[in-house]
């Protein structure tokens, strides 16, 4: 009610449907960018694309940091390298043609680009702009394999077009469960193995649930379901009970026999048990491998002996699993896992405020709208509580009203989970709404890096100034729109010196020749422009 009052009021103070008021406490609304632990440190990153037409210098010397719990916005026009930056961080650049050429990316101390120099050799072709790249595919494969330790469990990603980002032939729960099983599989198997469907407390708890369910008392039913789940020791059973209750059309078909049959999935056959144990072993080995990978990237050398030890255990285990994977048996042994995954996926969907999660989870991506799918993507990305979330234009393909929902959800999850977010977008307004810190990119370089209020109040770089001036505002009438003349340069032949100089209204002779250093202009405001002469930031 309070919100309603402040939102829509009488005509007099109704302005643009938006209520302007000075921010009383910024900190309360948005955690201030206090220097916390650095989650991600990108330093001097350069990514090129080696095409038939020449070398595209997509990223050139990009450096920035993301701290814990912080939202960093990466903003710029099409083709400025925002997405390339995100994909470089998780090493998802399609290779060929793309290649990270140099730089370091430190994720919690591990250098994700470790061993980069040895992955390929570059040889310029005479009399041309072309470069011959001889890739060492074995090394690239190894590097990609190492990245598994980070992707998903350390750095999650959300993509621009959710319709395309989901596999059309698998159900939603299939895809959610896949990520879940990969990173939380051991816990899941443990809880299944430790489930106590025949615990003496289960019976009374179920009775209580049936009691609460009959008059459809939501509160009581939830409590009772929670107690049942605690008795069974499987948290997802609560979701199962409540969702089944939601779908039960006739009150009478929700009775003890039915509930007992629901409990059946926790009564494992010996075969299933042995499968679970062997799967658990496999996942353990996999996690161990990922830990080794992380250590390798942290220490900067290979841990051959440890890897060999893990490898030697992998084969016997997979041989032991083999008979259970045979056709006919596999369905039986995997059934409990699948059902548990399904209900955990439903639980995740509940967490992103999807109205009927049990049904949505069974659906296919093409049956859902873009907004719903983006929620699914967020659920998938956050299912493993990653320290860092890379959101690559998460709302660009969505309508404004849906965009508002998604941004709300992301903010909400950020405060709940404490994930650092790197938000990539071309929309400065979105940045203004959600980011703590902004990096403005132009033609593959970060030209300005500042706290969000700093940036919008006092933009330093001429590009940023032009960009902010050219946004049409919904909250005030426009006199004339400002536009930056010209268009983004061709990155095969990037302009020398400052890459913005051909379009810059304040270009000086020096801009044509010298790449401007990044200088610190106070208040955490860094800019790369010859107009400013603050202390040079070490690059």
């Amino acid at each position: 009610m309070a919100i309603a009052e402040s939102t829509i009021t009488t005509e007099e103070d109704q302005l643009t449907g938006v209520r302007e008021r000075p921010v009383p406490t910024t900190a309360a609304v948005r955690p201030a960018a206090t220097p916390g632990e650095v989650v991600l440190d990108v330093h001097d990153l350069a990514t090129y694309f080696y095409t038939y037409d020449g070398v595209v210098h997509a990223l050139e010397g990009v450096s920035f940091r993301v701290r814990k719990g912080e939202t960093v916005g990466l903003v710029g026009e099409t083709g400025c390298g925002k997405s390339v930056t995100a994909f470089s961080i998780t090493r998802l650049i399609s290779d060929p043609p793309g290649r990270i050429v140099h730089g370091t990316i430190r994720y919690q101390g591990a250098n994700l680009l470790w061993g980069l120099d040895r992955e390929a050799k570059f040889k310029p072709i005479k009399n041309s702009k072309m470069v011959k790249v001889s890739r060492k595919f074995r090394r690239i494969r190894a590097a990609n394999e190492r990245m598994r330790a980070v992707r998903g469990r350390g750095i999650s990603m959300i993509f621009q077009e959710p319709q395309q980002a989901m596999n059309p032939v698998f159900t939603i729960w299939d895809q959610l469960g896949e990520a879940l099983y990969l990173h939380r599989g051991i816990e899941l198997l443990d809880s299944l193995l430790a489930a106590t469907p025949d615990d003496p407390e289960v019976g009374p708890a179920l009775d209580a649930f049936v009691e609460a369910a009959r008059p459809r008392n939501a509160e009581q039913a939830r409590d009772a379901a929670r107690r049942v789940a605690m008795a069974v020791q499987v948290p997802s059973f609560e979701t199962e009970l409540l969702q089944t209750l939601r779908q039960a059309s006739v009150e009478t078909d929700f009775d003890r026999p039915r509930l007992n049959s629901m409990l059946k999935r926790f009564r494992l056959t010996p075969l299933q048990r042995s499968w679970l144990r062997r799967e658990r072993r496999r996942l353990e080995l996999d996690r161990e491998t990922c830990d080794i990978y992380l250590d390798e990237m942290r220490d900067g050398h290979l841990h051959r002996a440890r890897k060999a030890a893990v490898r030697s255990q992998r084969l016997p285990n997979s041989l032991r699993r083999f008979p259970l994977r045979l056709w006919g048996i596999n369905r039986h042994v995997q059934k409990p896992v699948k059902r548990e995954l399904y209900w955990q996926s439903v639980r995740l969907l509940e967490g992103v405020r999807i109205a009927n999660p049990a049904q949505v989870a069974r659906g296919y991506p093409h049956e859902l709208s873009g907004g719903m799918l983006q929620r699914v993507m967020i659920a998938m990305a956050l299912s493993t509580d990653p320290p860092l979330l890379l959101a690559d234009e998460p709302t660009t393909a969505l309508d404004v009203t849906i965009q508002a929902q998604i941004l709300d959800l992301m903010n909400d999850l950020k405060t709940r989970v404490g994930t650092a977010i790197m938000l990539i977008t071309h929309d400065l307004a979105v940045i203004a709404e959600v980011a703590d810190r902004v990096c403005v990119m132009y033609a593959g370089q970060i030209v300005e890096n500042a706290p969000v209020r700093e940036l919008f109040e006092a933009p330093l770089h001429p590009y940023t100034q032009g960009l902010i001036a050219s946004i049409p505002r919904v909250d005030r009438p426009e006199k004339a729109l400002f536009s930056i003349p010209g268009s983004v340069p061709n990155l095969i032949y990037p302009p020398a010196g400052c890459r913005f100089h051909p379009r810059c209204p304040q270009a000086m002779p020096v801009c044509r020749e010298v790449r401007p250093p990044v200088t610190d202009e106070g208040n955490g405001h860094q800019v790369a422009c010859h107009l400013y002469h603050g202390k040079t930031v070490e690059q």
Partner: protein
């Protein structure tokens, strides 16, 4: 105002050493480009040239075209095969009556050439010689490659001709037959596909069912049955039979094109430039001509170049099954020669086994190798070219 692409990555531009055409240096230039289409062509050629296999294919194809021209110009379209007299010595034509096509045989077991020339009846311009007694064995092989006797023929019918001449002549037949088939098939498929795709609705439904029907009948069978039926209703005579075969092939060929074109047209039809043309009042015919056709015809080129290589193979297959497309089994068409050679080889081996009784029986490898090579090289070169063409025409495939 700089002429750059939408984003730096997809942008294609390179002066001088790169592909010609849109270059970044054009940005501020005032240089007038009199023929941009030539630039487009140059650009395609540039990418085509970079494809080694495609260039190899093009080289082989040029050779075949040269052979085609040679066969056309120097032997003339009506010249019969060079049938030489076969002796176990050096081949000579002097023993044969000039102007007549004749075959020499000599009694089995004789050591000296008998030099008996039998007149060969010529029906429909085709030499028939089946009456000549089967007395020959294949033992003679002249020096390679040209001007020598590379022999082909059945043991049962001592019929020899210069394989080289046959293959050169075969270039004419094979190429013209397959070009005729593919060209006609592609044009009719193009028309039908455009009509079906552009007008949609019932027309589309009917035409597509028709293509489905023709695509459901195995190609070879349809050709055989059509020729068979044609024969029975009185389409005889050599020219008519060839025409019938070409017609039968076209009947099986257009559906592929119709499908490809329709798929393309369905995409193009939804493009905004078609709608823009409609908004400025362009008629349906104009839109088809100016917008739909040019934008959907490229896959047809690629498919055509693929199919030109396939036709001789199919003809060969039909001949191989034993169905007489050509009036004579030794008709100089590659497929025919190749099929015939594989058919006769077992008999030759058999003969060797019986007669040779362990003695050296030279494996007549040339019978298999040369016609097979002609077929294979032609088909594969055409494939290389088609592949290179596809890559050069479709910028998405370049990387």
């Amino acid at each position: 105002m700089s002429a750059t692409g939408t984003n730096g990555i997809a942008e294609e531009a390179l002066p001088g050493e790169g592909p010609p055409g849109n270059s970044a240096t054009v940005t501020a230039s005032t240089r007038r480009r009199p023929n941009p289409r030539l630039d487009q062509f140059k650009r395609t050629w540039y990418f085509f040239r970079r494809n080694t296999l495609a260039m190899v294919g093009l080289g082989i194809l040029v050779f075949f075209v040269a052979a085609f021209v040679y066969g056309l110009v120097f032997q003339g379209p009506t010249t019969q095969l060079n049938l030489y007299c076969a002796t176990d010595g050096a081949p000579s034509q002097s023993t044969c009556p000039a102007g007549n096509i004749s075959v020499c045989t000599y009694p089995q077991g004789t050591t000296s050439p008998g030099a008996n020339c039998y007149q060969t009846p010529v029906i429909d311009g085709i030499p028939y010689n089946n009456f000549i007694p089967p007395t020959m064995t294949t033992t003679t092989l002249g020096p390679l490659p040209f001007g020598a006797l590379i022999q082909s023929g059945q043991v049962g019918t001592p019929y020899f001709y210069n394989l080289y001449a046959g293959l050169v002549k075969g270039t004419d037949w094979s190429l013209s037959i397959s070009v005729a088939i593919v060209l006609t098939g592609a044009i009719s498929g193009l028309l039908i596909g455009v009509i079906a795709g552009f007008y949609g609705g019932v027309v589309d439904e009917v035409l597509m069912r028709l293509t489905d029907i023709f695509l459901s009948v195995p190609q070879i069978l349809l050709v055989i049955v059509v020729i068979l039926a044609g024969q029975e209703i009185g389409i005889t005579g050599f020219d008519n039979r060839i025409l019938l075969m070409v017609g039968a092939f076209i009947a099986t060929w257009w559906p592929t094109y119709a499908r490809i074109v329709r798929g393309q047209v369905l995409v193009v039809r939804e493009q905004k430039y078609v709608e823009a043309a409609r908004a400025s009042g362009a008629s349906g015919g104009r839109i088809v001509r100016k917008h739909v056709m040019p934008n959907s015809v490229y896959p047809v080129f690629v498919q055509m170049s693929l199919d030109v290589g396939t036709v001789p193979l199919l003809i060969a297959a039909i001949v191989y099954i034993g169905f007489p497309i050509f009036p004579n089994v030794l008709w100089p068409e590659w497929g025919s020669i190749a099929a015939e050679s594989t058919l006769t080889l077992p008999d030759i081996l058999q003969e060797c086994a019986i007669l040779g009784s362990g003695s050296a029986c030279p494996f007549p490898w040339w019978q298999l190798l040369f016609p097979g090579m002609a077929l294979f090289l032609f088909a594969i070169s055409v494939n290389f070219v088609a592949d290179g063409l596809r890559d050069a025409l479709d910028p998405r495939l370049r990387r």
